[in-house]
């Protein structure tokens, strides 16, 4: 009887894993099936106004790129502070807040940026979108840096200090280098996370049919346009949405796998 119960439970558990895997397979096959059939090389050459996706892909990358330029240094510095400089209650407090912020609903962050950037600027803009993504990114980068630096052995720090190096030199030249692989992986995963975000962009950057480098106006966004296109009843719009979804998902998954590969190879 005990053995039978054991068998049943193990079977159910394996079954759950299969269910999980089949969802992944189902979504991927849907994307590949629908995406590949709608995917043409011309999509990368034309803007949305001409039935292509070029401006959307570029726009999404630019906004995620600017968000990284803001979010990565701030997040890393904060992570360094938590691990290397600060101590006691304050560090714990900031660490907790950062964890909470990491799980804050992304649409709320969008609403926040709407209130502090979009309203004063009298309109949606690429800047607002980038700021929203940066706010999403900061706690993720803090978490990664914090965790990775905590793995660096104490002896390295002591050796650096013993050589007479100042603390910030030790941090930049020794500790960060020692944790390089882990931090790089974390940054890649953070980038993959924000480039697929839709909700924080809905009313900050919105989207645009045209190619744009002017960050002060509504900015083309791949994800926001997918939402609009998928809700459009015409089948050509839907096909375009599937092609865009395919590109987006592949991008996110490849960045993810790349991050894992780096850790595996060097870590």
């Amino acid at each position: 009887m005990r053995l039978l119960v054991n068998k049943i439970v193990l079977l159910l558990s394996t079954l759950s894993a299969l269910i999980g895997l089949s969802f992944l397979a189902w979504i991927l096959f849907t994307l590949i099936g629908k995406g590949l059939s709608s995917l043409h090389f011309s999509l990368f050459l034309n803007d949305l106004i001409d039935g292509g996706l070029r401006n959307l892909i570029v726009g999404q990358f630019i906004m995620a790129g600017i968000a990284s330029l803001i979010g990565v240094p701030i997040g890393m510095l904060a992570g360094i502070y938590l691990q290397e400089y600060g101590s006691g209650k304050y560090v714990r407090f900031i660490r907790d807040l950062s964890d909470i912020m990491m799980s804050a609903p992304s649409i709320v962050i969008g609403a926040f940026v709407y209130a502090i950037v979009v309203v004063p600027m009298h309109g949606t803009s690429g800047i607002a979108g980038s700021i929203a993504l940066a706010i999403m990114m900061i706690p993720i980068v803090i978490n990664t840096t914090d965790n990775m630096l905590s793995l660096v052995p104490k002896e390295l720090r002591e050796a650096g200090i013993a050589l007479g190096a100042s603390k910030y030199r030790v941090i930049l030249d020794i500790i960060i280098k020692a944790a390089k692989v882990g931090i790089m992986t974390g940054l890649l995963l953070a980038f993959a996370r924000i480039i697929g975000e839709t909700a924080p962009l809905l009313f900050t950057s919105e989207t645009s049919n045209y190619f744009s480098v002017d960050l002060k106006e509504a900015y083309p966004s791949l994800t926001v346009s997918i939402y609009a296109l998928a809700n459009d009843p015409t089948s050509s719009s839907r096909d375009l949405a599937w092609a865009a979804s395919f590109i987006l998902t592949m991008l996110v998954l490849i960045i993810n796998l790349l991050g894992r590969y780096i850790t595996r190879k060097k870590g």
Partner: protein
């Protein structure tokens, strides 16, 4: 230079606090007209964007106080209704209440949790205890990849592929509370499974081995050793997943129907707080924007509370 570096890094860390505080205050500030107008009754009010007559009772002193405010803030709406040929003499005002999106959020999250919880536990047990190391690694990566897929993809797949199948079993509408909840469940499933697995793995091997040595079966080890040992971590993980489900926008936006009506059954469409924001924000002005911010404020408070409980009560990391 040393001092500068230290100061800058301190400021970056403090920025987290500043950001969270400014999110709180800016949401509150923008929601203030709605908070003042409706107070706590907002969460019980069923009407959304509905014209109701202003009662001009003799005893209605508080109403009188509200009157000029309502006239100013819902200017556009009143104008619109006048243009639309609202010729009745009774003065009306537009009312916004939060009951429907709040109920929609809670119910869709509940469905997601009921669906995801057993499967996530199964996956976690499989990854942590049953599968051989290599299979566990591969399946683990696959589950994490599932977690990495952008939520808008879940929404699209859910709408065009998953919902029709659900509908063919239970009938009703394709866009409904049930399909939204299920897709939300699929979405939080990998997240919940991954962090639950990590919690289970903290069980010391010595404990498990002792139990096996006493002749326990795998299930008994899981039930009597691993679950009790990592109980706090598992509950924390589940609550964290709950927090994520509450605030999820895109996966739900495709499926819940975005209709401001209380669901009469599992298969009827409704709306949730994030979806109300996603779909109504664009054209909103005046009191409507404020009411949406009131919703955002409530969502922020709720998820803040839920995540705090998970983090502080169950997942307290013992810091070195």
């Amino acid at each position: 230079m040393e001092k500068l570096f230290k100061t800058v890094s301190f400021m970056s860390a403090t920025l987290v606090m500043v950001l969270l505080a400014s999110i709180f205050f800016s949401l509150f500030h923008t929601a203030k007209p709605a908070i003042e107008e409706y107070g706590f009754g907002f969460i019980k009010e069923k009407a959304w964007d509905e014209e109701v007559p202003i009662e001009n009772d003799i005893a209605a002193t508080p109403v009188k106080k509200e009157e000029p405010k309502a006239a100013v803030s819902s200017d556009d709406d009143d104008l619109a209704s006048m243009l639309a040929g609202n010729t009745s003499d009774v003065p009306t005002k537009t009312v916004y209440g939060g009951l429907i999106p709040i109920v929609g959020t809670l119910l869709s999250t509940l469905i997601a949790m009921i669906f995801a919880l057993p499967i996530a536990m199964g996956i976690a047990v499989f990854l942590a205890e049953i599968a051989p190391k290599q299979i566990s690694n591969i399946v683990g990566i696959a589950i994490e990849l599932l977690a990495a897929i952008p939520s808008i993809i879940f929404g699209m797949w859910g709408l065009f592929y998953f919902a029709p199948i659900v509908q063919s079993f239970v009938g009703g509408y394709q866009v409904s509370l049930l399909t939204a909840g299920l897709v939300l469940g699929v979405m939080i499933l990998p997240f919940m499974a991954a962090i639950t697995r990590d919690s289970m793995r903290t069980t010391p091997d010595v404990l498990k081995e002792s139990a096996y040595a006493l002749g326990a079966t795998k299930f008994e080890v899981i039930k009597d050793i691993i679950f009790p040992y990592s109980k706090a971590g598992i509950i924390g993980s589940v609550i964290l997943a709950l927090g994520r489900a509450l605030g999820e926008t895109m996966a739900v936006a495709f499926l819940i129907g975005s209709v401001f009506s209380l669901p009469t059954s599992l298969t009827s469409p409704t709306v949730s707080i994030p979806v109300a924001m996603a779909n109504s924000f664009g054209e909103a002005t005046g009191m409507k924007t404020s009411a949406l911010f009131y919703l955002a404020f409530l969502l922020f408070i709720i998820s803040f509370a839920v995540i705090s409980i998970a983090k502080f009560y169950f997942l307290r990391k013992d810091n070195k």
